[in-house]
């Protein structure tokens, strides 16, 4: 039996780093401090019945077991013969895997995109336009006295966000914890987070942008002529603006309710500008509630390797980025890509139907830990080990702080990490080139 302390949970963007895990005979027998979702993920690694344990290749229309070499060979063949391969997924694997994946995309001249494209992609576009006034979660914990969640429901999506960083913890300047802080929730419905808030503001569906504009007008000293905006009475908007201006350290956390509702990146653009305006009165910051545990990591790695956070087309040998043209769903819906490598993601469950219709027409290589609708549609399936439980790796928290995930147990026999699988595919794609170079070196 071995007790691991300070293990990092690889589920959501909160990346809780205080987990205790007890392992006996390569089975997790106890998990402490994690939320219900995180605990379930740790325990699920014991369950080999719902894992893919052997590589599979489609033959005569059926997925049959194959050796790893055969699967890698087939994957390399598919990718090499493609004119516009799409490499998608990435948000639930390590930065080391991202790095190899981006190299593979460059080698192939493909399009590489991650789940940012369907979650906080609009935030990235807004940040290009408006910048990003942010901080680390540690600063929120120690300083923030006004916490706003807009279009986010951490009680369900990031269960320990409230207790570790925002409203409940005692911080250096917030010694009494919750009593020293105020929580405001702005959403279209009364979520479980809204139920514990000091104030809940219900905004009309799809009118967030109007409410932000009204708030900005008031913050900037303008007069609001309307009786109500987006279903919120004028007095309430003025009171909220005053509260924001008079906070000592305010933070605006925003989620999918703002990025994926009507207005998308302009909602975030306007929200960032609101925070910028507030900084003429007090200290205020904004932070995206990133979902997958390493979605930020992919944005970081792609930014330093290719210069852009997501949706990069390497077709011409250099990185070209323009969401709307190079994003996974646009490439799929226009029927442009002719092969796909999907790693650590399940687009067949989550993408619009039109995208899936094209995915069904092209060969897919799926690298995943367990069967999903995507692996069922795939032509090559390669099982991988769970990052943060069975292999180590680097991940970025939602505030872009990198943390080292730890290995606490062995993966199933013969199952490799994402990094190793991608390295093998990359080597196979380069194939003769590598051999020729080795020849010269000798």
């Amino acid at each position: 039996m071995h007790r691991y302390t300070d293990v990092i949970c690889s589920f959501c963007g909160t990346l809780c780093d205080d987990i205790e895990v007890v392992v006996e005979d390569n089975r997790i027998v106890d998990v402490k401090h994690a939320c219900r979702i995180g605990t379930a993920k740790f325990f699920a690694s014991n369950d080999y019945e719902h894992r893919i344990l052997k590589p599979m290749v489609r033959k005569n229309g059926k997925l049959v077991e194959a050796s790893l070499d055969e699967a890698v060979e087939r994957a390399a063949e598919i990718l090499k013969s493609a004119t516009k391969p799409l490499l998608y997924g990435w948000s639930s694997t390590s930065c080391e895997a991202h790095s190899v994946g981006i190299e593979l995309a460059e080698e192939l001249g493909g399009v590489i995109d991650n789940t940012t494209t369907v979650c906080h992609g609009p935030s990235a576009l807004a940040i290009h336009d408006a910048g990003y006034i942010s901080c680390t979660l540690g600063e929120v914990k120690n300083r923030a006295d006004l916490i706003i969640y807009w279009g986010a429901n951490p009680m369900h999506g990031h269960p320990r966000h409230l207790s570790r960083y925002s409203i409940f913890p005692r911080g250096y300047f917030r010694e009494r914890g919750q009593q020293d802080r105020e929580l405001i929730v702005i959403d279209v419905r009364k979520t479980d987070t809204a139920k514990i808030a000091n104030k809940f503001i219900r905004v009309n569906y799809g009118e967030d942008y109007e409410l932000i504009s009204a708030l900005r007008k008031v913050v900037n000293g303008g007069e609001l002529h309307q009786e109500s905006v987006a279903g919120v009475p004028r007095e309430e908007i003025i009171a909220l603006a005053e509260k924001m201006k008079n906070a000592q350290f305010g933070v605006l956390f925003f989620g999918m309710g703002l990025t994926q509702s009507y207005g998308r990146h302009r909602n975030i653009d306007n929200a960032i500008c609101l925070v910028r305006d507030l900084n003429t009165h007090t200290k205020f910051v904004i932070m995206a509630m990133r979902g997958h545990y390493n979605v930020v990591g992919f944005n970081e790695v792609l930014s330093w390797q290719a210069g852009f956070p997501f949706a990069v087309d390497m077709g011409r040998g250099f990185a070209w980025y323009n969401p709307g043209e190079t994003t996974a769903n646009d490439v799929l819906q226009r029927g442009e890509c002719d092969a796909a490598l999907i790693i650590a993601s399940d687009p067949v469950s989550h993408f619009p139907r039109k995208s899936i219709e094209h995915l069904a027409k092209i060969p897919i290589i799926a690298i995943d830990i367990h069967p999903t609708p995507t692996t069922q549609l795939a032509d090559v399936v390669i099982p991988s080990a769970i990052v943060g439980i069975e292999v180590d790796g680097t991940a970025y928290r939602m505030d872009a702080v990198p943390l080292r995930l730890r290995k606490v147990k062995e993966p199933p026999e013969g199952v490799l990490s994402d990094v190793e699988i991608l390295r093998r595919i990359l080597a196979k794609v380069r194939g003769e080139q590598l051999a020729a170079k080795a020849e010269v070196a000798r």
Binding site: T83, Y321, G335
Partner: protein, 262 residues
């Protein structure tokens, strides 16, 4: 004016990057040289001659050049990129980025154009007889100085974020536009037939004229009286218009929005 005719053959499904279709590039070349110009699709490079039959006479300078694309090219992108003179006529529809970074000359598309057409235009004229996609006359991601000169005329409708970051020049859309027309606009003139909502969002300067109805006005715009037959930037408009200033979500915003009184 000498004319080169490009007759489209089969277009690749991958999207064809044909930034070489420009009078500046064609001028002074032989037909064989034009056929050999590079085009890109997916991770491959091909020749213009693989996708178009090239015929006609080539002029020695761009000013005297006219390129006619005889048919639909709905998978071809970047037509007329950075063009400075001459004329391109597309006798059908084209895809994204028509006339991007255009500096002069004229492009006429008899069908529709895709998104990002007229991106960062600096001069010249882009005329679309059908509809335009999203981001007509926009800037590139993160570039706060958008289209700075020239004229875009669309006979049909246009999508979202028309004239995003507009920093000069004129855009006329005779039909309707979707939300966020003139978003973050700084200078220039944007005239639209009718608009939905969030017109002039975050604008700090320039003028937007809505000739028809508007679905919903942003709360951060202020009413500034009614104007009869206004003359704006040398263009005269008939009828009574409601004048608004904004977007007062921004500090010191000097944008003006005219909406025709119903």
């Amino acid at each position: 004016m000498q004319e080169v005719v490009l007759t489209p053959k089969e277009q690749p499904s991958y999207g064809l990057i044909a930034e070489c279709i420009s009078c500046d590039v064609f001028a002074g070349k032989s037909i064989e040289e034009i056929e050999a110009l590079p085009v890109y699709y997916g991770n491959k490079q091909g020749k213009l001659g693989d996708f178009f039959d090239v015929s006609g006479e080539v002029a020695s300078s761009a000013e005297e050049m006219r390129i006619v694309i005889a048919g639909d090219v709905t998978k071809t992108r970047w037509i007329g990129r950075e063009m400075s003179a001459g004329e391109i006529v597309v006798k059908g529809s084209a895809e994204m980025y028509v006339g991007a970074w255009m500096r002069g000359g004229r492009i006429v598309v008899e069908g529709d154009v895709g998104a990002f057409s007229g991106m960062l235009m600096r001069g010249g004229e882009l005329r679309v007889e059908g509809n335009a996609g999203d981001y007509l006359g926009c800037s590139y991601r993160g570039e706060w100085r958008g289209m700075s000169g020239g004229t875009i005329i669309v006979e049909g409708n246009a999508g979202m974020e028309v004239g995003q970051n507009l920093n000069g020049g004129r855009i006329f859309v005779k039909g309707s536009v979707e939300s966020f027309a003139g978003v973050r606009m700084k200078k220039g003139l944007l005239v639209v037939g009718s608009a939905t909502d969030r017109v002039g969002a975050q604008m700090t300067g320039g003028t937007i004229v809505v000739l028809g109805s508007i679905l919903r006005l942003l709360p951060s715009f202020d009413f500034a009286g009614e104007v009869e037959n206004p003359e704006i930037d040398g263009e005269s408009f008939e009828g009574v218009f409601k004048k608004y200033t904004g977007d007062h979500a921004e500090r010191n915003a000097k944008g003006v929005l005219y909406v025709r009184k119903e």
